[in-house]
Amino acid sequence: MAHAHNLAILRGLIKFKSNTQKIWGVLILLSIVTAVEVILGIYKPDSLMAHVLGMKLLNWIFIILTIVKAYYITWDFMHMRDETKSLRRMVVWTAIFLILYLIFILLQEGGYVFDVYKDGFIKRDF
């Protein structure tokens, strides 16, 4: 069985010699990201409490780091890196499009309901 693995991560910045080595490399990367998340979550630095695009900067950092972790789990543990481009796009784009749409709709609506509760009248009528 010929299994060609793509052994470069971070756009070719780090190249591993074998698939096993790559797995441990990705584990180290994921552990570092998780450790950063936990440390930020415990200490909550004041400098990251500024609001950016309706949410705390810290929360944006958490979400971005989560997507980074999700990327490496999918690409390296689930071998998405080695699948054909069309399979990759079928799975990833479908999910990403539908999830972003759902999140937008529900969070928009949640914020709207909050405003109705708070102000007691309807501010926007779609």
């Binding site: 390296d76 399979l87 999830i99 949640g110 914020g111 909050f114």
Partner: protein, 327 residues
């Protein structure tokens, strides 16, 4: 004539069946599509959580204050440590799974067996940890008073540290009510366990302790829960307190909005169920590996397929971790 033959051969190559445009077997592709649909299910749950949170954005419980417990370390406030441990366990079992898949590519039966075993152990540790987390959450810690409107009033000392009901409530031994049971009352009516104290006992304790204040659900500009003044504290408990809440279930939640508990049970429960079924499937595959099924088949692709599912469970946890415990 010769051109016709050549055409027919080309057609046979593309449309004659037997080729895989995605270079993936049927089973693997179907696992991927199942994962997409399951991912959408989980996103639906997490987005619904986000909806409820945005709806009550100024009074949602702060996760750091809810999940502060670590087994064997009683009474210490260690937010996030245990969940971080659980996350690490799950990532670790993902690593052993992918190592099993890798060993399968080399048809190395002994290594696949070992790594599958380690994966199963990791999964069991995770499910056990989640059970412990649930038990701690259900049991509760400090206790609180629920108001007529369903809001939660908690108690803090003047330094802002939480105070448990058992530390200040004055129990009135003449006024104890026994819980109703089916065998000494109406057989068709059941009653859950009664709280340790009544609202009046808590009020008496609050009156007697000058240094205890009430903390509401409302989050102030500093991102902390609002603490009421002494007079306001007494007034709120006296006028609005209706129920003593200890711990959390689907109806009440001492940490704040009951919706938080509902979503916690539902989402982590659904994820825990996935981990559990993943462990069961892993055990089946583990025995197949030992029995040599895949050795005879000369292909360990089955390990790869359950591996995909197992990694997906890990992937979902990464998101649950972020949205329940961090954000």
């Amino acid at each position: 004539m010769s051109t016709t033959v050549v055409n027919a051969e080309a057609e046979g190559k593309t449309w004659g069946g037997g080729n895989q445009p995605l270079k993936a077997s049927y089973g693997k592709m179907m696992m991927w599509f199942f994962i997409v649909s399951d991912a959408l299910t989980f996103s639906g749950f997490l987005a619904a959580y986000g909806f409820s949170r945005f709806k009550f954005i100024d009074s949602w419980p702060i996760a750091d204050e809810v999940f502060t417990h670590v087994p064997f370390l009683h009474g210490q406030e260690l937010p996030m440590i245990y969940v971080a441990f659980m996350t690490f366990i799950l990532i670790m079992s993902s690593v052993t799974m992918v190592l099993a898949v890798d060993a399968g590519h080399h048809l190395n039966k002994a290594k696949v067996t070992l790594y599958m075993f380690l994966t199963i152990i990791g999964g069991l540790i995770f499910v056990g940890s989640q059970a412990w987390e649930w038990a701690t959450f259900i049991k509760g810690d400090y206790g609180a008073i629920q108001t007529k409107g369903g809001n939660i009033l908690q108690f803090v000392d003047t330094n802002g540290h939480r105070v448990a009901l058992r530390d200040f409530a004055i129990a009135d031994t003449h006024d104890e009510r026994t819980a109703h049971t089916r065998d000494n009352g109406l057989w068709f009516v059941s009653e859950g366990s009664l709280p340790s104290y009544t609202v009046d006992e808590v009020y008496a304790g609050l009156e007697a302790n000058e240094n205890i204040l009430v903390r509401t659900q409302i989050i102030n500009d500093e991102g902390e829960k609002t603490v009421l003044s002494r007079e306001e504290s007494l007034k709120q408990i006296k006028e609005n307190g209706t129920l003593v809440v200890e711990g959390a279930n689907l109806h009440v939640n001492e940490y704040g909005s009951p919706l938080f508990a509902d979503f916690f049970f539902f989402i982590t429960g659904f994820h825990g169920f996935h981990v559990f079924s993943g462990v069961v499937i892993n055990i089946i595959i583990f025995f197949n590996v030992i029995l040599g099924t895949y050795e005879r088949r000369k292909s360990y692709e089955m390990v790869e397929k359950v591996g995909l599912y197992w990694h997906f469970v890990d992937l979902v946890w990464v998101f649950v971790f972020t949205f329940f415990y961090l954000v």
